[in-house]
């Protein structure tokens, strides 16, 4: 009897610990975000810092986005053709490839790749800086690490994501075009005409752009916060890097569902 009571109390204690920890971290991450916003003007007047980060966050991610986009588009073309040809409607392959890439796959897959390639690097970098007390050293020299280190990285991630998503979608559509039109013999004119007929500029294209902006914001925020909030040990940096990728990916997938549900409801 005594054992069971003890066990129940233990359970509650663990639950309480978990809940407090969760609220603490949520609160810290919100404060972190507000400090980033305050520091953004200082990053804008030093564009060189942002350029450096644009290189490591954006330029170095292009290759993986190009390759992934081309292959995803090619698979969409191949798979879509095989399904549509059963209904004799392979001419609407353009619709399928265009809508899927612009609305869903472009922003989401790019955000996942971004979290894996750029987000993990940001977390590991910041985590190591914290572990080696570089932030304290900066503060000692009256350099605000938010203005000097974090805000430029945030801006770079925020700018890169929509551009990367657009590159992904464009390359993917040409990948689908290559498989569908050049290899499988879908009519060239029908491919583009059907696509233009069904992809609406405001409803679909802008929706994709908004999604990619949101995902860029969230993925960069999570990556930077996980890095800044690392337990300053080598194990802590490793865990923070893993968590950064996992949390950012889950956040992107969940947000994607919410955003899709919200935008589909209106029409």
């Amino acid at each position: 009897m005594q054992n069971i009571v003890c066990w129940i109390i233990n359970c509650f204690e663990l639950l309480g610990q978990w809940a407090t920890h969760l609220f603490e971290r949520t609160g810290r991450s919100a404060l972190f975000l507000s400090r980033i916003f305050q520091s953004i003007p200082f990053a804008i007047v030093r564009p060189w810092l942002v350029f450096q980060q644009l290189y490591s966050v954006g330029v170095l991610t292009i290759i993986i986005v190009l390759v992934a986009g081309a292959f995803v588009g090619m698979v969409l073309g191949l798979q879509g053709y095989n399904i549509l040809v059963r209904f004799n409607s392979e001419s609407s392959l353009g619709t399928m490839v265009g809508l899927t890439l612009v609305r869903e796959l472009g922003p989401v897959v790019t955000a996942l790749l971004f979290a894996g390639r750029a987000g993990s690097a940001l977390t590991a970098e910041l985590g190591l800086m914290k572990t080696t007390d570089q932030f304290s050293a900066m503060e000692m020299m009256a350099v605000d690490p938010f203005k000097r280190v974090i805000a430029p990285r945030f801006l770079a991630g925020f700018i890169s994501m929509p551009l990367l998503a657009a590159i992904f979608s464009a390359v993917g559509i040409y990948g689908g075009y290559f498989v569908g039109v050049a290899l499988l013999g879908v009519d060239d004119g029908a491919f583009w005409a059907q696509m233009q007929k069904s992809v609406d500029f405001h409803e679909d294209f802008m929706n994709g752009v908004w999604k990619s902006i949101t995902f860029g914001f969230v993925a960069t925020w999570i990556a930077l916060f996980e890095g800044y909030d690392t337990v300053p040990t080598s194990e802590g940096v490793g865990r923070a890097t893993t968590q950064s990728v996992v949390h950012a990916s889950l956040a992107v997938l969940a947000l994607n569902f919410i955003l899709t549900a919200l935008t589909l409801e209106t029409n």
């Binding site: 060189w48 450096q52 612009v102």
Partner: protein, 152 residues
């Protein structure tokens, strides 16, 4: 890496991103076919609009000349009032033109087809089309055919 090469790469990245956005906007979406110019509005009264909705196409001889911009129900005459926004560069429709609701394909989306009349005056903003044919409702047609068969 020197500052110079880094800036070149960032420039290439940003240019590629903007070019991709541009390609998506112009080549993939319907931006260049969207009616951006001025439009004028005319209304038409239908007994039944079927599956017509806002933003449905308005066509003349099969060519897109405008879109449906509003649909309202008039509970005095028990009919639907549809507002058509027609592009300003097609402003020479005779005032007695006829609007009919057709279906693209057998079960496709519904649109309004304008049939030009013979009057010398042209349609202008705020006019009402006096002749309007309602949508063909497939169920009603099938019902009628079955009723005919039974009465035979």
């Amino acid at each position: 890496m020197t500052r110079h090469t880094l800036e070149i790469w960032v420039g290439v990245f940003v240019a590629a991103g903007i070019a991709a956005l541009f390609v998506l906007a112009m080549k993939v979406s319907n931006l260049n076919t969207v009616t951006t110019g001025d439009t004028y509005k005319v209304t038409a009264r239908f007994d039944n609009i079927g599956g017509l909705s806002i933003r449905s196409p308005v066509k003349a001889s099969g060519v897109l000349v405008g879109r449906v911009s509003n649909i309202a129900y008039d509970d005095k005459t028990y009919s639907a009032i549809v507002t058509l926004s027609i592009q300003q560069n097609f402003n020479q429709f005779p005032a007695d033109s006829r609007a009919s609701i057709y279906t693209a394909g057998l079960l496709g989306e519904q649109y309004i087809e304008l049939l030009p009349g013979a009057e010398d005056d042209y349609l202008k903003d705020g006019d009402r089309l006096l002749m309007a044919d309602s949508a063909m409702i497939l169920e009603q047609m099938i019902g009628r055919i079955i009723a005919d068969k039974i009465s035979e």
